[in-house]
Symmetry: C2
Subunit: 255 residues, 2 copies
Amino acid sequence: MELTQMTLTALPGIPLVRPGDDLATLILQGLERGGLHLQDGDILVVAQKIVSKAEGRAVRLADVTPSEKARELAATLGKDPRHVQVILDETKEIVRLKPGTIIVEERLGLICANAGVDRSNVAPAGEEEVLCLPLDPDASARRIREGLRAATGREVGVIICDSHNRPWRNGVIGVAIGVAGIVPVEDWRGRRDLFGYTLHVTTVGVADMVASAATLLMGQADEGRPVILVRGAPHTRGDGTHWDCLRPREEDLFR
Amino acid sequence: MELTQMTLTALPGIPLVRPGDDLATLILQGLERGGLHLQDGDILVVAQKIVSKAEGRAVRLADVTPSEKARELAATLGKDPRHVQVILDETKEIVRLKPGTIIVEERLGLICANAGVDRSNVAPAGEEEVLCLPLDPDASARRIREGLRAATGREVGVIICDSHNRPWRNGVIGVAIGVAGIVPVEDWRGRRDLFGYTLHVTTVGVADMVASAATLLMGQADEGRPVILVRGAPHTRGDGTHWDCLRPREEDLFR
């Protein structure tokens, strides 16, 4: 019997990524190390952190001069004022602020804590760096996709994922902050179910569900598994972008 | 080389579920049909709809008399007043209301549209039924878990999943509305990363990420794949409940 299956495999032995590294090459080496062969329709999910590192998005705090506003916010947040300055540099609008927590709409339209600027997993503690999101994660995903296609001839999807908190539920989950080669949100309006009802479900967050599945397998405590090969994930190929994942401002009931 | 993998398999041939059906039995039959054998540490993800159906949570609209309030809201929402009455019966508090949309905290503490009361996939269109969430989805999950253990001797986790919209992102994703045998949210505070940083990540939504992975494989348009066997999902066995997934009211910045 043919079973409907989806398989996620962590690429083994991905090394610590350094600025300038070519991620498609590292992914191809990881595939080879694992004895894995790409197939058309596979999706590669890549942790934001290694994309940011490869693209040189780490900022040395010693190079940052915090503004007056950053100093004031830092006192509320209990963070280093230089870290807060980098957060503000990546921020379009502060959405919520309370002691210890800053939630913003950042440059890419993502509503998240700290504008995605992270202090963990970046560099030896002595160096005091923070890591910003990639400048254009869709472009990062496209570059990886194109590198893989050039080397293998396979048509795969690529998702850059990050971990986000949510307003009403505990625990971070994976989200897609960059995509290439797939339709990240599928519109099922008008489809009919078994009994002929029109579905009330409007759209399905395909890329985010793939990102969550992969994020779970990545773990969070180290960088040992920053790339996941996903095979058998129901999805549609296409030229989507992460902007498709963002609810339009005029439909936002909770800002 | 031993690869880190997670595999999701849809149990084949699960029939349309009727009130009174024993889900553990249907799951065991599905496993057998697929030539699948449970292992300790597997997680079964079960669609809320079949749990609700088995537990007789369908409500015939012909049996519902809408209140004045339900009639008023129905005009705003563009829904059948009897459907709105059932939503209100399941609601603790209305969180947002606008033409076409009602978001509530329902009986189980979930913040979601329509209190999870769905009109699709329930019954032949002529009968006009709606389907409420299970009365106690954690108990439903425990019953399935115990039924599977009694039959196989295996210690598995069970997640009852539903699909939710989100405030700032397009597309529904899977969430865990009932759990048994697992810790649904893991606390990683204090863990250190490769460079000795204490992780900023506080907690990880393990059950919700498993639910999303499975929801993707289930699809939404029919009931052909309402049970997914998940093998290799990183998680911790334990006596969690879905209440662990809910952010405490006092930490809610967005109600």
